[in-house]
Point group: D2
Chain length 280, copies 4
């Protein structure tokens, strides 16, 4: 008995659920969970099923492909640890939370390496027997720096996700294109956000009573990629901007780990600069 996650998105039309479920039924498969969503506005159908049965991944994929319309995207995935790269700069909270979850066996992931433009985090990372790679940006153009990172990344056979755990540099469109829909960022604000440097200082000056954080896929518009998860925390006048920043870290790490978990469990569809996420 093998278990598979089946993810399908297609233009909506009658009979899609019927056709997919007929494949499962005719091959004597159990449906462990099943979620569908139709975006009427964009006429898009989304379905995620977790099924088990005595069938190969290839055969299941073929049977579904045969019956689905041409325009459908079909993923059949056997659950296994995904390969991830973490990129960070100097801050420890988001990275540390992932390292501890990984150590506790909570994440379906192999951490291939942590890459940073500084060496500050080396001491922490190396304790977890995870390769730490410092690629300094000093005296390099943005492109030169990224080329060195990309070169290093080619050493790894397959990278499922790159997690920006407070990586404080903007990635170029060239870099993002290579890892489209695979780069997960944590943004220190809900969106729309205070634009520019030090959003906590801006939030404090504006006198907000709530601060938040957003995890999203990175696309070529800075901080504008498809949102995966958001969370907030209440503050009041007694919080200076440094207090907000400190509290914000707690929200950031929670939101990033939540988003990463959703990605590792193949729960996220990305389309129209948005996400459909099946939690059930």
């Amino acid at each position: 008995m093998s278990q598979y996650r089946v993810l399908i998105d297609a233009n909506d039309e009658k009979g899609l659920v019927y056709k997919v479920s007929s494949v499962f039924y005719q091959n004597d498969m159990n449906i462990l969970s099943n979620s569908e969503f139709v975006d009427k506005e964009n006429n898009k159908f989304f379905m995620r099923s977790v099924v088990e049965g005595d069938i190969t991944l290839e055969k299941l994929h073929k049977l579904i492909s045969d019956i689905m319309p041409e325009n459908a995207n079909i993923d059949v995935i056997a659950p296994q640890d995904k390969n991830i790269i973490i990129m960070a700069t100097k801050e420890m909270h988001a990275l540390g939370d992932i390292l501890i979850r990984h150590e506790a066996g909570e994440l379906e992931a192999n951490i291939l390496a942590v890459i940073s433009n500084y060496s500050d985090l080396e001491s922490l990372v190396s304790r977890f027997n995870i390769p730490f790679v410092c690629i300094s940006h000093v005296d390099l153009s943005r492109e030169e720096h990224e080329d060195k990172i990309l070169e290093h990344l080619t050493k790894f056979k397959a990278i499922d996700y790159i997690v920006l755990a407070k990586y404080m540099r903007v990635l170029t469109p060239q870099f993002v294109e290579v890892y489209e829909k695979k780069i997960i960022n944590i943004h220190h604000s809900f969106l729309p956000a205070f634009i520019g440097a030090n959003p906590y200082k801006q939030a404090h000056e504006r006198g907000v009573k709530i601060i938040g954080a957003t995890s999203h896929f990175v696309n070529n518009n800075l901080d504008e990629g498809p949102i995966i998860a958001q969370e907030v925390i209440h503050v009041d006048h007694a919080y200076g901007w440094r207090d907000m920043q400190r509290l914000g870290k707690d929200v950031e790490k929670v939101v990033l780990s939540r988003a990463l978990k959703l990605a590792l469990e193949d729960r996220i569809f990305v389309y129209a600069n948005k996400t459909v996420i099946f939690q059930g």
Copy 2:
């Protein structure tokens, strides 16, 4: 084109989704939304579909019944305003919230009457052109009082739900049995709760930092019926028990209105003293 909500629960077995969706497909129906859940532990399958097509309710019900196993419960519902009775005592917050929502057209409901054991709320209710019925419990046994209420309720052809909007009397098993799975209560606590009189005073004495409220169906164990919705609010040492009670009212009305809305939209399955609720 008619729209229907189809609710099915059954012992889980292979092919249930396939069979139901085949009925929709073969009758050229659109699936507007579709949710399933399998409780592995209890081997129970739940499905709620919103569909539209050129078919009568009776025929759709028959077609699904023909193809489903004997043990299945099948509901096919044409969306329309449900008939509800509100029972209250003296407090205005939960009742008032429902009245305003009803007035604003937010609820799929006709309020047939508000019944109270006091006359305090008559002035408010009558302004909304809703019948107010005062049935005093003074000098009556619990059974005599309920008999008078039950007698009044028989005047109404069909009652879909009875909403206890801070009705401060315990209902007898005899009463509850008549309206099984139809009585929605708001409890001034999350559950498990401080037992007995004045839970806010107890919560205050215990020094809790969170208070909450629970909406649930009423069964024959007081405060022990299937939970529909819960919400909480943070408090601190500066809140006396009366402050907690006041804040608690805000949570109570939110939770009760949320639960009522879920019920009116036929989103709730009840089984094993729990609920399965499809929000999507």
Copy 3:
């Protein structure tokens, strides 16, 4: 024994607490609650005390004024219902929540009138024996329309607060100036916000996972006044923009009522386009 709320803000300097508390002590007054805050950045001191004693308001004010620095703002307030005007347009949820709270005796307020540019809400308001004034904006310039409202407002001796309960017109700087720090608005977003028409539609297009609402004092920059309260609610891909709008209403009414209550209890200081709020 009389009870007073004493509100003081001043440039921070040593001895302010000592000096104020010496007045209370030397006049044999009880301190029921006492809150202070110092904004180091702006060197500003804020203090709110609730005290009781055998002394007139005037004498207490004078004693404190004598001992405080020249730059201090001193308010001594005897708790009593404040006079408020509600302005609304067509939507019922925020107004209705205030009306029910007022009816239930939860608000320290007299509602002098509800003013609207449409007549839709007249039926609801009149049931609560509150004057409803329809001042249509049709065929009037913004200034002409506001002049008619201002003229009507002059009929009332003292207006403590004007509550914009989904009043959908932008007020001119001239109007705002007349009621500086007295106009409380509810904004259908947290701030910073999606700018322009239909923020819920924009939020939906952006694929946000949280929506919120903000209550703030109105100043001459639209949606940019000092924030009083904010709240959020989680959404997901299954919520269309109308669902978000409907859920948003629940947040809006909660936030506006919370802000109004804080204002009525004299808990808010406004400065530097921010608020200091003592909840304790």
Copy 4:
């Protein structure tokens, strides 16, 4: 210039704020923050001030003691890292969160040692250069086991707090007495709670829609000590009890770290089995 945290609790009487602030004023001290609370019911006064000035701790303590009533408890504390012991069993999430925060410099604490009745956590702890002490309970009575722990603890000069980061054994009254008001626990529920083994399983069976966690000081009634912090998270029918347990871990670590931080910053008063906590 030295900075001090001054904590005072006393039976309430007139003039307490005046007297304390007079000490500050006459010694030319700055008040950086100041919070007071009066529990009318118990007639208890609480005050926490952060002050700075050119004065020794001993002198400041003496001046305040001289002027305060006999019954007052007075603490004058110079901010410095506190000495803490962490006790854990096998689970990594709560401990890991504290270790990362400590490593990141977020905690005002020296971690003297981590003590466990198993060796599972040794690998993690030792990476952080923190002594790990395994004191097995196998073949020992509860008292014998605790004696060994107590003996080990006597090696440390001063222990400010013992943090039970998922230490899964019940402490005896004898142990608790030694470290009264110094032991901070995390409980996997809000309180009141499902009693007994596996509360998540019970919560799941009850069909709750919210789960939570509570951090509290340990007293001699199991899970009944003064509450410091509580938090909750929403769940639904799709969460099995293991899912609830996993989600619960996220809440547990957040709540425990929050409580620890409050303790380390001397923000907590304990009385009447409750806490007064000044966050400002």
